[in-house]
């Protein structure tokens, strides 16, 4: 078996644009569940609404494509009602951090045994490129035509503070690292949150001088900084580029969790 066997081949090609990172992140997540040896008949994928949230529809398992922002609340019900099911959640930055922000912090607080993969493309993709709570200051979107002026959420810091047992950040460029991070998430009892910086060439790239898909990949490659290096620079009091994407594992702990098979 390979991760490709988890796909609903009869639904491909998918609806995502050419070069959209969502497809890559789907592959990496499926590679992780495959490596983990999970049974497709006992695995459920849950999502909200957005381009990213279409992912479960392409996976040949039980899946629940819910309402905007509410994936974690639905997943909480699934997992608590039947903890023997493996539950993975796909969500977008708008889905998770805007309309679903409250469910996000409470799912982390409950530390419920889910693996949450957030495809953070810094924008509302599905509705045509409006600003989201993670749109960086200065970035252009259809609702921030003069550059975003609101401070953005640091999703990783939020998940750590709210109590998730495992928190990591990678980009869609780091396919192997991402696969391993998801696998660690699957293995960690409690909530695992993996933020994946994703490219939306159609709605983010076009407006923000990352026109080519390969430009976005280059951007992720060059702007990423390993957490170890970031920590070292900070400890030494040396400057860190403001646009650095700090990647790596931020926390792994074994605080009491809910929804774990006794």
């Amino acid at each position: 078996m390979s991760f490709a066997d988890w796909l609903r081949a009869d639904r491909l090609p998918h609806i995502w644009c050419s070069g959209c990172s969502n497809g890559t992140i789907l592959n990496c997540t499926l590679a992780a569940v495959e490596a983990e040896g999970w049974d497709p008949d006992r695995t459920v994928f849950v999502s909200g609404i957005g381009c990213s949230s279409r992912a479960p529809g392409y996976i040949s398992t039980d899946s629940l494509h819910t309402t905007h922002g509410r994936a974690l609340a639905f997943a909480t019900g699934v997992k608590l009602a039947d903890p023997s099911l493996n539950v993975v959640v796909f969500t977008g930055d708008g889905d998770l951090a805007a309309i679903g922000g409250n469910h996000f912090i409470h799912a982390c607080r409950r530390n419920i045994d889910l693996t949450v993969v957030c495809m953070n493309n810094l924008i509302y993709g599905m509705t045509g490129g409006q600003g989201s709570p993670t749109t960086p200051i200065g970035a252009l979107s259809t609702t921030t035509p003069y550059g975003a002026s609101e401070p953005a959420f640091d999703l990783v810091a939020l998940a750590v503070a709210a109590g998730a047992n495992h928190v990591a950040r990678w980009t869609a460029y780091h396919v192997r690292e991402l696969e391993r991070a998801v696998q660690t998430g699957l293995e960690t009892p409690g909530l695992s949150f993996i933020e994946v910086r994703a490219g939306c060439p159609t709605n983010y790239g076009r407006k923000n001088r990352l026109r080519e898909v390969t430009d976005l990949a280059e951007y992720f490659r060059t702007k990423s900084m390993l957490k170890a290096k970031f920590d070292r620079l900070v400890a030494e009091g040396r400057p860190v580029p403001s646009d650095a994407i700090v990647v790596g594992e931020f926390v792994r702990r074994s605080n009491p969790a809910m929804g774990v098979v006794p």
Partner: protein, 362 residues
């Protein structure tokens, strides 16, 4: 026993093993009873972060095959509306107990009302048919909660117990039956597509984790469950089936009580106002009054109105400005008089007698 507690007990008797909720007056005692009882019977109680999450968790739990419920009141019910539509579209069985209080907005948290009757009927967006029951006693809080589960499971849809504060907080002796008839959801047979409906318009249920690998989406979907969002024919067929499976069973599932079918002046009532009506009718046998008491309000049993062939006028006392009166009006040729009562108290006998007087002099 208190009405709200009776509802919780009825749910348990019907097989409910998952409760997700958020505290709100005057329904909180349902959640509190579930918090005490669920862990003792191998069920799950979870207090969610809000009512949107509550119904979401209940829907998620229902897909694992558990019978699931939430309880709330007006403000929380308003928050649930989007996901009620999701449950309708995805054909997820669940029960919502709404112990109604005075609205709009925060209104009168501790006072009774029936102002959400049309909200439950039409509140979520899109066309829909719903099942709503209205208890008029503590016993019925129990019995109709059981019934709500049975209907939800049979038709694969949300069922509402539209109680009100008076019934929810009332204390009465009730009889807990040794045996209740329980309907369980029909599982999806292998070889069938997940949304391939039988003759009754209801597909078998593919419980998560049993190998059906079903995709559940609130998007318009085909029989495989796959999204198909731009095919007008498919969309219409789906919505008509969802509405039809409930509407076509209107006569069969109708549940009402008829008193004095020869009457010329007939009350149509449900929930706590029915108690005031019954009192007045019992106290004035000389007035020749009839009662149609609805235990099930939606789908509206219009044929029940024909049980009163001599009716010259229908009086509809409600704790709202005439939400069900409007529905009665659609189905009869004689006058229909709404007898609204806002503020949270029951209609007084004097108020009902005055309404009778005015109706007779028409």
């Amino acid at each position: 026993m208190q009405g709200n507690t009776a509802s919780a007990e009825g749910a348990i008797a019907a097989g409910c093993r998952f409760f997700g909720g958020y505290p709100i007056t005057p329904s909180t005692e349902v959640a509190e009873a579930m918090a005490r009882r669920m862990p003792k019977i191998g069920g799950v109680f979870v207090q969610m972060e809000d009512e949107i999450a509550s119904i979401a968790a209940v829907i998620g739990a229902s897909w694992t095959g558990k019978k699931a419920m939430t309880s709330t009141s007006g403000p929380g019910f308003s928050l649930m509306l989007e996901n009620i539509g999701f449950a309708l579209m995805t054909e997820t069985p669940l029960v919502i107990v709404n112990v109604q209080r005075g609205g709009p907005s925060t209104g009168q948290p501790t006072m009774s009302a029936q102002g959400d009757m049309l909200q439950c009927r039409f509140g979520s967006h899109g066309d829909m048919a719903v099942i709503a029951l209205a208890p008029d006693s503590v016993q019925e809080m129990y019995d109709l909660t059981v019934k709500a589960f049975n209907l939800a499971e049979r038709f694969r849809c949300p069922a509402f117990l539209m109680a009100d504060e008076i019934i929810g907080h009332m204390r009465e002796r009730i009889e807990l039956p040794d045996h209740v008839d329980v309907v369980d959801r029909r599982p999806l047979e292998s070889g069938h597509l997940p949304y391939e409906a039988g003759e009754d318009g209801v597909p078998g249920f593919p419980v998560f984790g049993t190998g059906h690998r079903v995709h559940v989406t609130g998007l318009t979907h085909d029989e495989r469950g796959y999204p198909v969002t731009t095919d007008p024919v498919l969309h219409e067929a789906l919505v008509r089936r969802l509405v039809g499976k409930v509407e076509n069973a209107r006569r069969e599932i109708a549940d009402y009580r008829v008193t004095n079918p020869d009457a010329e002046v007939v009350f149509v009532c449900y929930g706590s106002p029915a108690r005031a009506v019954q009192q007045v009718v019992a106290d004035h046998p000389d007035l020749g009054l009839g009662i149609l008491r609805l235990r099930l309000v939606w789908p509206f049993p219009e044929h029940a109105l024909a049980e009163f062939p001599n009716a010259r006028v229908f009086l509809v006392p409600e704790q709202n400005l005439g939400q069900v009166a409007r529905e009665v009006e659609r189905h009869v040729l004689v006058p229909v008089v709404s007898v609204p009562k806002l503020g949270g108290e029951l209609h007084t006998p004097a108020e009902l007698l005055r309404a009778i007087e005015e109706a007779r002099s028409r």
